[in-house]
């Protein structure tokens, strides 16, 4: 992602179009469309947060669903205790979304620090397998946690409260999510060009050289991992509120895989690419079954039969993703 001042005209047009359409969607008045767009924005936030480790750090985390799930479970657990009128570990539950953001950041950040300290001792394939294994550990933990309905998950009756913001209103909630995403993207774009971003990117390209230059790259990579985890958990809080549901499925490894797919589809290491990737993936998920049904009745149910080989083709040939196609160069 180039600096704003260095962007070519194609970049500028793309960003302007994306922002304009994001701002205008609620004015269509189509409730279904707004819900779909909300979902896209939330996954865009998670995917571009994942890009911080995947693209910038070159660390293939296959366990980011854990952070998404942790954020969602903060909402679910708080809701349940508030509903029952019971305390959580002696504390009064809060349904304030900003308190929940903070809690999610603490929980996900703690988990990221603990597991990251182990994962980041390894590289390459081991890193992939270990992040996957830790996420799976959490998945089984929540499945076996009967206090919070285990496999069935928690259905929410209301969204978290946002102070003077009426989040229950679909349009308000949409703009709230959009604000979160834009804030993060602006922050991430600055981070990308900061000293911190340069060290993390340098460590991806040549870790030994960065260490020889005197940078404690392990600490930098751990910080990037932590940051990415915290933002992903924020997306989890939003996801729970968007769907009125929290369940172990949010932590499943299919979810981790989907996030990776979004990043690569959109363009890895570009921070904005994953936003496009999330949009493309969710639109495919939503409409590919209908399109297939046009050709053969009932075929839509098997849309993944088509998605699978598509991913293989993307992996084989498309290295720069959708963003690369749209703006030419990868960065």
């Amino acid at each position: 992602m180039p600096r704003l001042s260095e962007m070519g005209w194609r970049w500028r047009i793309l960003l302007a179009l994306a922002l304009l359409s994001a701002l205008l969607i609620p004015w269509t008045g189509d409730d279904y469309l707004v819900k779909l767009a909300t979902r896209i924005l939330i996954f865009a936030l998670a995917a571009s947060a994942l890009d911080l480790v995947l693209g910038l750090g070159g660390l293939v985390s296959f366990g980011h669903a854990a952070f998404l799930g942790l954020g969602a479970y903060v909402v679910g657990i708080m809701f349940l205790h508030d509903f029952e009128g019971t305390g959580f570990l002696g504390l009064a539950p809060s349904q304030d979304i900003f308190v929940q953001f903070l809690l999610a950041a603490l929980v996900a950040g703690g988990f990221a620090l603990a597991t990251g300290a182990v994962c980041l001792r390894t590289r390459g394939v081991a890193f992939i397998m270990i992040t996957l294994a830790f996420a799976q550990m959490l998945f089984f933990f929540f499945v076996s946690l009967r206090r919070y309905n285990g496999e069935d998950g928690i259905a929410l009756w209301n969204r978290s409260r946002g102070g003077w913001l009426e989040l229950e209103d679909q349009r308000t909630f949409y703009y709230f999510v959009l604000a979160c995403l834009v804030l993060f993207l602006v922050f991430a774009a600055r981070l990308y060009h900061s000293r911190f971003g340069r060290v993390v990117r340098g460590s991806k390209d040549n870790d030994r050289r960065m260490r020889a230059l005197g940078f404690p790259t392990y600490r930098y990579r751990l910080t990037a991992y932590l940051l990415s985890a915290v933002v992903t958990s924020i997306a989890g809080v939003l996801l729970a509120n968007a769907t009125y549901f929290v369940g172990p499925a949010y932590l499943s490894w299919h979810m981790s895989g989907q996030l990776i797919v979004m990043v690569v589809l959109g363009g890895i290491g570009t921070l904005f690419g994953p936003v496009l990737g999330a949009a493309l993936f969710i639109l495919l998920e939503e409409f590919l079954p209908d399109v297939l049904d046009l050709f053969a009745a009932g075929a839509g149910e098997y849309w993944m039969l088509l998605l699978g080989p598509l991913l293989v083709i993307v992996a084989l040939f498309a290295r720069r993703g959708l963003l690369g196609v749209l703006v030419g160069t990868g960065r």
């Binding site: 390459g124 081991a126 089984f140 933990f141 499945v143 946690l145 039969l305």
Partner: protein, 305 residues
Amino acid sequence: MDLLLLLQQTLNGLQLGVMLFLMAAGLTLIFGIMDLINLAHGSFYMLGAYLTAWTMGLVDAFLPAIALALLITAAVGFLVEVTALRRLYGRDHLYQVLATFGLILFFNEGLKLLFGPQPIFLQPPAWLSGQVPLFGAPYPVIRLAIIAVGLASALLLWWLIGHTRLGMLIRAGADDREMVQALGVDIARLFGLIFALGAALAALAGAMAGPVLAVRIGMGEDILILAFVVIVIGGIGSIRGAFLGALLVGLVDTYGRAMLPDLLAMFLERTVADAAGASIASMAIYILMALVLAFRPRGLLPARS
């Protein structure tokens, strides 16, 4: 603790262990030699189970049915290697993850289309479905058979890799791919063979799992992740490590599930102990993995680097 229960749980743990070894051996070979992370390895396990269910209907004899299923899965594995994965050697692991994730979706949906979404319960043949008295209590024959087949496969693999020409090439390929190629070995054919071998091993585990667990969509994914834990504990690329790791994971998981609730009940209330025991037991092997990594980041028996 009841000694009989302990013995039975040990056997159950061994059974899970050898199945995990069959999965992990193929994975670790493919990783060690081709430097490829293959998420679709679980799909071969699932394919083996489904194909056995199908071939049982064709030939109506258990052993030939399994043999046929193994052959078909090996052929599918070879085909997958030639058409798609071969192009991913040497690429960033991210793209290997993406492509093999896509393959999983493809196999899951494909098998759902062919066999339907309902689980299939494989009926083992009469000579395997009984129970034998063991230490004074009945124990299912099929579980003993699985342990025997698993140990025999491990022995066969040890012989194949340590004492045959193919094994020599495999070891050499893992050490220095270019040199083997320069010496005139058809490396592409070798890789295809290894991939087919790994697929057949996974299918064998799947075929044996059929009668014990149910044959269902997604069955390969649970065991795949366990196999990853096994490989990380044992040391990536190391077959000996995979064997040790598989037995460790099998035993720890089985003991944990069987005994932790009772152990905790000594200190806690029964209902709390049951809930906490189940939760901790489901995480036990991951904690084991974290401990191993904290002290030996390269695993217990790392392959030579």
